[in-house]
Symmetry: C2
Subunit: 125 residues, 2 copies
Amino acid sequence: MYERKILPNLDCGLDLIAEVLYGKWKIRLLWFINEGHKRPSQLQRKIPDASRRVLNIQLKELEEQELISKEIFPVVPPKVEYSLTEFGKTLIPVISVLGQWGDDHEERLKRVIMKRYESEPENGN
Amino acid sequence: MYERKILPNLDCGLDLIAEVLYGKWKIRLLWFINEGHKRPSQLQRKIPDASRRVLNIQLKELEEQELISKEIFPVVPPKVEYSLTEFGKTLIPVISVLGQWGDDHEERLKRVIMKRYESEPENGN
DNA sequence: GCTATAGGGGATAAATTTATCCCTATCCGA
DNA sequence: TCGGATAGGGATAAATTTATCCCCTATAGC
């Protein structure tokens, strides 16, 4: 994992939660694990846009942060299951609130987000 | 502003809210504007770790996304005030939930976050 | 003329995060 | 024996975000 050079601020609750939720796929990983998709291959199928590599890295961070736990079954072929810890479960209502706000404002959000990609018609019309 | 090369996914509410809240200082900007710190110089003083330049960029993005509005007073020296739009105000309860979770788990979060920076004692003891 | 105030922005570097590519290992079935 | 499924990781490139540095506007006051 990349070793950070700059220490983060941890001054308030917002700084703290940002440290664990920042990461392109982390929220989705927590969500799907909560829904019962426990195995890495299941998660990969639920999030096909992420490579297996990146999911592994983000899962490891979530595990280090004690939001999920990893159980390795000594079988062949290998089997691994992730679960939310009690700590991780406390985050689910928070994630619900985030998703709900996004759903509630879907149309408007899509419009304002896409502004950034429609810039400069250049020569067409 | 940097021009993105890859389009984001906007498949669910979580994707959508991520697009507007991702950004190191955005949540804090929304929060402080909501608290009544409306002028750029005030915001800069509340967030001294960010450079004025970066705050300007993130404020512009929030404005483009219609979460805040900008009023420019034609006086000298110049005066500018930001306010939350009605749309932006709907985000405040969401931010409260985030901050509350962080506050509720402050001790534990500080510990697990700092794991990442205590790696490799190398030669010390 | 110099300095301070208040707000802004271009160019570029540095930090950080994500993505790609490729390789390891075991067992099953065709 | 080859291919697929399962899980994992090193090395490196690409994308993206943040930070730094320096400059500009205009007016008031000394």
